[in-house]
């Protein structure tokens, strides 16, 4: 990692040059909600002026640049009684600007799951390798809880990370490509004051969190609370709409479908991002549903998010961005669900410890 400092004016020129010569995506305001608050999404930008640098959080994560909602995995071309399988890993270079630390952490988690297992995904790899990621730090929103998940800072997984230190950005340069690009612009080595300002900035962010989730021993609590009524309570609210998984930066579960093209000369094998809350997620051939209850499906989402599965060494994949909580129409959010689980646990502890006195 090489650290540099760049003035905001020069930075604007740098981003503009990058945007003008590449297919670039950055936060843009797409709507205003009925309270008058802006709604942001990662959208294509043509110049630096299109970018909302002061954005809060995008409604949807940047996941789909790496894991498209729908993607063709392979194609079968038929000739006579024979066929040929074609696989292409197409990925056009993309510049992604303005990712938050938690979003980049989510990418690192996806790297772990999709690249470091027994079967690395070439589709993901192609996109990951051909994406130039520029991160930017931000002050936490009222409902962010990435600090609790320890994802409020990030040290890998990006090409360039920018911390706002007043008139300048403090740059963490993490790739030769980013370094070469910046050579064309006026940067300087950080001095003592810059370093102090960076530390101050980090402290400001660190202390800015209003929402915290106690994740102590959460994997164990999830195991113990497998049959807790809490799941049914929250499951009853769940609309089974899959929104939480779609906006999540780290949900990667999917479904495979295969179909002939209308001329029957080819068939396409497609992958579609799926959600564990959808009714038929655990349906097996013959129609049996292993998880017919809403609560069971919701529980599995929390299991995956906060306990993790074997493939990624039981790592928690939730980064604490709370996009699912914001997007959920039924008001289901990680903070309340996990607190509820803990309450369940703590009330148990109370009743166990108080019972001897009763005798």
């Amino acid at each position: 990692m090489i650290y540099k400092v760049i003035s905001k004016k020069e930075f604007t020129g740098f981003i503009d040059a990058l945007v003008r010569s590449n297919s670039s995506f950055a936060p843009r305001q797409v709507d205003r909600d009925h309270h008058g608050n802006p709604v942001y999404q990662f959208q294509q930008v043509q110049s630096v002026d299109d970018i909302a640098f002061d954005y809060s959080a995008t409604a949807s994560s940047a996941k789909h640049f790496f894991l498209p909602f729908r993607e063709e995995l392979s194609r079968f071309l038929f000739h006579g009684n024979d066929w040929e399988q074609q696989i292409t890993y197409e990925a056009n270079p993309v510049v992604l600007i303005g990712l938050r630390a938690c979003d980049i952490s989510a990418l690192n988690i996806l790297d772990d799951v999709l690249l470091n297992g027994h079967f690395p995904s070439p589709y993901y790899l192609a996109r990951r390798k051909n994406t130039f990621v520029i991160g930017m730090d931000h002050l936490p929103l009222a409902d962010c809880f990435c600090k609790s998940m320890n994802h409020h800072t990030v040290t890998t997984g990006f090409n360039l990370f920018c911390s706002d230190i007043g008139d300048h950005y403090y740059l963490s340069i993490n790739s030769s490509k980013a370094f070469n690009f910046l050579r064309e612009f006026e940067t300087r080595d950080p001095n003592f004051d810059d370093n102090c300002m960076l530390v101050e900035r980090r402290k400001l962010i660190q202390n800015g969190f209003q929402t915290e989730i106690d994740v102590t021993a959460l994997p164990t609590i999830l195991d113990i609370e497998f049959d807790s009524p809490v799941w049914e309570k929250w499951g009853d609210k769940c609309l089974n709409c899959g929104t939480c998984a779609m906006v999540c930066p780290s949900c990667y579960c999917y479904s495979l479908t295969e179909s002939f093209t209308p001329n029957l000369k080819a068939a396409s094998r497609e992958k579609e991002l799926y959600s564990c809350n959808l009714v038929d997620f655990a349906v097996v051939a013959g129609g049996h549903n292993f998880r017919p209850k809403k609560g069971d499906r919701l529980k599995y989402r929390y299991y995956h998010q906060h306990r993790g599965f074997a493939e990624n060494a039981s790592q928690q994949i939730c980064v604490g961005c709370n996009r699912c909580g914001r997007a959920c129409l039924a008001g289901i959010n990680p903070k309340d669900v996990i607190n509820d689980l803990r309450m369940e646990k703590e009330s148990c502890v109370t009743c166990v410890s108080s019972s001897p006195r009763k005798i």
């Binding site: 020129g13 040059a17 990058l18 010569s21 590449n22 995995l73 392979s74 079968f76 038929f78 009684n81 024979d82 066929w83 399988q85 696989i87 890993y89 270079p93 510049v95 999709l114 690249l115 470091n116 297992g117 027994h118 079967f119 690395p120 995904s121 070439p122 790899l125 192609a126 390798k129 051909n130 130039f132 690009f181 064309e184 497998f226 990667y252 579960c253 999917y254 495979l256 295969e258 179909s259 068939a267 992958k271 799926y274 564990c276 997620f281 655990a282 349906v283 097996v284 051939a285 013959g286 292993f290 998880r291 299991y303 995956h304 306990r307 993790g308 599965f309 074997a310 493939e311 039981s314």
Partner: protein, 305 residues
């Protein structure tokens, strides 16, 4: 405005150097293979029952054929282009490198389509995937194989392995139960197993018919026929969840250690690679950590049985 063209050139992940820049590939050389199937010719289809057929596959490309190796208990994804793929456990001997045999029951849409194809059709397989029965660890012990219904299909691979290395094992019992006599599979091999391989075969059906001379009842009724030396026995149990739940708890009561009982679980796998998360049970994936689990692990998977 300075005119600077910062074109990021597309990186070709097919280049070896590029792939190697990603840290910690367990199987770097396999990255290109994950979705590419081995093309196979269906060389023979044997109708076993109304609902079950045995498909014999021959990998067409000799190089791929030489590469394809599996261990008893593993499964593969069988792809019928245009219709989709299904996880199928391999029923043939792992030492047979010429042919693979898959025992398929018509349950879903892909298997239904497979029942319409004829010999000579070209299908694809991906894999092998998943865990296997620890045949080496089992050597030197008595083996108790218990199959219910289609559970005989995943058992046939370890059974072949035992037959081929018969001198490494002590007593081998095979308990096999189905609903009706007509549903007993691989009956043509029963004599071979009994006479040549000295396997004690005990069959039972729930509802016998006029021609049925064997035992009638549940598979648990066979337990009285066998003597188990619990200190020296490994058990492999395959069948519907309700069956292995009963059988395993019985074996447990007898005193066979949980880590010497193995079961093969079934879930709907989509990818076979631990990525799609469709087959997760508890906190494990059936496709990567399973399908073969020891009973201790299964006990710990909340949803398993």
């Amino acid at each position: 405005m300075r005119d600077l063209r910062f074109v990021i050139t597309p990186q070709d992940i097919n280049r070896e150097g590029f792939a190697s820049s990603v840290p910690d590939f367990n199987r770097r050389s396999e990255i290109m293979r994950t979705d590419m199937g081995y093309k196979c010719m269906v060389t023979n289809i044997v109708r076993l029952t109304e609902q079950e057929r045995l498909f014999q596959l021959h990998i067409i490309n000799p190089v791929e054929r030489a590469l394809f190796r599996f261990r008893p208990g593993q499964f593969l994804m069988l792809e019928l282009p245009g219709y989709g793929d299904v996880p199928i456990s391999i029923s043939s001997s792992s030492s047979n490198h010429e042919f693979l045999e898959l025992c398929i029951r018509k349950v879903g849409h892909v298997t239904s389509a497979l029942f319409t194809i004829g010999e000579g059709t070209r299908v694809a397989i991906r894999g092998p995937f998943g865990s296997a029965f620890p045949m080496d660890e089992m050597a030197g012990h008595n083996i108790l194989l218990i199959a219910g219904g289609l559970g005989i299909a995943p058992l046939r691979a370890p059974l072949s392995w035992i037959n081929e290395h018969r001198d490494r094992f002590l007593d081998v019992d095979l308990l096999y139960g189905t609903k009706e006599p007509a549903q007993l599979l691989f009956t043509w091999q029963f004599d071979e197993w009994k006479m040549i391989n000295h396997i004690r075969l005990h069959t039972i059906v729930e509802h016998g018919d006029a021609g049925w001379k064997g035992k009638s009842g549940m598979i648990t009724d066979l337990f009285n026929d066998i003597v188990i030396d619990t200190a020296r026995t490994y058990a492999i149990v395959c069948g519907p969840p309700v069956m292995f739940k009963i059988v395993c708890s019985w074996l447990d009561r007898l005193g066979i250690p949980m880590n010497r009982m193995f079961v093969s679980l079934e879930r709907r796998m989509h990818c076979g690679m631990g990525k799609c998360c469709r087959c997760m049970v508890g906190s494990t994936f059936t496709c990567i950590d399973g399908p073969v689990f020891d009973y201790w692990t299964v006990m710990n998977l909340k949803e398993a049985i």
